[in-house]
Symmetry: C2
Subunit: 109 residues, 2 copies
DNA sequence: ATTATATTTCCATTATATTGGAAATATGAA
DNA sequence: TTCATATTTCCAATATAATGGAAATATAAT
């Protein structure tokens, strides 16, 4: 991961509404949640939600898929895992410590 | 971890200079790096570095210790690990996946 | 076709963060 | 004490992000 991509992801997550959205999507898993359902659940105006979803999508932290009139948003675990790895990369100058493992990666799904 | 603390940490990391500082400190480990050395290494004006170190300290992502005229900054692994855990909390709605492990935690040091 | 639903884009207003020079503070050395 | 080094605070200029109503677009149902 290059630093600019990490910054984009962190900037996207560094906002209460977006972090909340992201965590809902992380917990929802693969199937994702429709935009309108998020707006209702989180009680956010559509325009505002749309703006934040675009930020998250731009940062590749979420992906969108259309199904009929609905657009389902899901967390992108690949980017999330790359980000976690980037933050902890080569930690403690080689002093042994637990490596950061990943979430929902290809080992399992 | 409460959301406001996570936001503070993410906001602090979501900046090129601060993310770079943080990663240098993560890699430096316990002993940390003096402010002036960081300024020189990263080629940042002192005032700017000081501002960013304060942001990171405020977010409890780094800690400072004075030694003579020097102030050594170190990464705070506890906060970092709490943040990683917060992002991946209850991921995929219980579908089995790798848990997020932590870096440099009490199990080892 | 017409209507209803889902979502996004536009945009002006408002709020927040970043920069770095100069001055201030703090510690230690001569 | 006086001087040098390390770091921070102050502050004004500048840059960037967030908000949500209204209009636009897109799909589907009648």
């Amino acid at each position: 991961m290059k630093i600019n991509i990490a910054i984009k992801a962190l900037t996207a997550l560094a906002h209460e509404t977006r972090l909340t959205i992201f965590r809902v999507l992380v917990q929802a898993g693969e199937s994702g949640v429709a935009a309108g359902q998020l707006a209702k659940e989180l009680n956010i105006p559509n325009a505002t939600l749309s703006f934040h979803l675009k930020e998250l999508t731009n940062a590749e932290l979420v992906t969108a898929r259309q199904e009929g009139r609905f657009i389902y948003y899901s967390a992108n675990f690949e980017t999330m895992n790359a980000l976690l790895g980037y933050l902890t990369e080569n930690c403690c100058a080689g002093v042994p410590c637990s490596p950061v493992d990943v979430c929902c990666d290809e080992k399992i799904s």
